[in-house]
C-alpha cells in the first residue's frame, strides 16, 4: 500500500515536475523541449477532439487550442533558432508524451457526450499540470531572459486556457 502510494507520488512529481523543482537540474535546451512538447500534446488532443466531437462548444474550444498552441510553438521555434539553442529531449518531455499518448488512446474509445466530457476534463487537468510545471520548475530554472519571458507569456496563456476549459466543463454539467 505504502509502496503503491510512493510510486504514484513519484510519477506525479515526474510529470508535474513540481515537487522536486529545487533539486532538479533542467537546462534551457531541455526547457525549450518541454515547453514545445507541452504545446504539441495539446495540438494533438485538439485534433482528436475535432475528429470525434459533434458539440459546438467543444469544437470551438478545440479550434482555439489548435490556433493558440500552433502560434506559440512557432514563436518558440523562432526564438530557439535566434538563440541558437537546440531543444533537447529529456525525461520530463518523454513522461509528458507517454501520459498524453495513453490519454488519447483512452479517449479514442469514447464518443458523443462521454468523449466531450472526458476531453474537456482532461484539458482542465492537463493545463493545470503544465501551469504547475511552468511556475515551479521551468520559469525559475530558465537562464535566458527571452526564454523566461516566453515561458511567462506561456503561463498566462495556459492559465487562460485552463479557465476557458473550466468554463466549457461548467456548461456541460
Amino acid at each position: 500500500m505504502y509502496a503503491r502510494f510512493t510510486s504514484a507520488l513519484a510519477v506525479a512529481c515526474l510529470i508535474g515536475g513540481a515537487t522536486h523543482a529545487a533539486d532538479t537540474k533542467v537546462t534551457d535546451p531541455q526547457i525549450a523541449h518541454i515547453a514545445y512538447t507541452a504545446g504539441v500534446i495539446d495540438i494533438e488532443a485538439a485534433k482528436q477532439a475535432l475528429k470525434i466531437s459533434k458539440d459546438k462548444e467543444v469544437i470551438g474550444f478545440a479550434n482555439d487550442m489548435l490556433r493558440d498552441h500552433e502560434a506559440v510553438n512557432k514563436q518558440a521555434l523562432d526564438l530557439v533558432k535566434k538563440l541558437k539553442v537546440t531543444p533537447e529531449d529529456n525525461d520530463t518531455s518523454r513522461a509528458l508524451t507517454k501520459a498524453a499518448t495513453q490519454e488519447r488512446e483512452k479517449l479514442a474509445k469514447l464518443s458523443g457526450a462521454d468523449f466531450d466530457k472526458a476531453y474537456v476534463a482532461n484539458e482542465v487537468a492537463y493545463h493545470k499540470q503544465v501551469n504547475g510545471a511552468l511556475e515551479t520548475l521551468l520559469i525559475p530554472s530558465a537562464k535566458n531572459a527571452e526564454l523566461k519571458d516566453l515561458l511567462e507569456t506561456g503561463l498566462k496563456l495556459f492559465q487562460g486556457h485552463q479557465q476557458h476549459a473550466e468554463h466549457v466543463a461548467g456548461m456541460m454539467k
Partner: protein, 104 residues
Amino acid sequence: MMRKRSLGAISGLALMLAAPSAWAETIRVTIEKLVFSPAEISAAVGDVIEWDNKDVMAHTATAKGDFDVVIPPKKMATLTVTKAGTFDYTCRFHPNMKARLQVR
C-alpha cells in the same frame, strides 16, 4: 429672406448635431503578453476604442450582451462607443484577461 434665414437655422442645427463626432476621441488599448493596457479606460459616447494586438494569438474584447470585438494577431480592431455605463470586458479565448471601459 425669411426662407433663407430658416434654412440657415436648419444647417446650423445640423452642424451642432454633427459636432460631437468631430470631437470624438480615439482611445488605444494595447494587448501584449495577454494583458490589456491600460486595464481601465474612460470614454464618452461617440469615442472610438482601438485595440492593438501585439500578440501572436487572437484575442477578443467581450462584454457579454454589449460588445464582442475580435482582434486578430498583430492587428487592430475598433469599437465606436454607443452607450454610457461601466463595461467589464474579457477575452473570450483567455478569460484571465480582464479590463474595464467606463463610458460617460
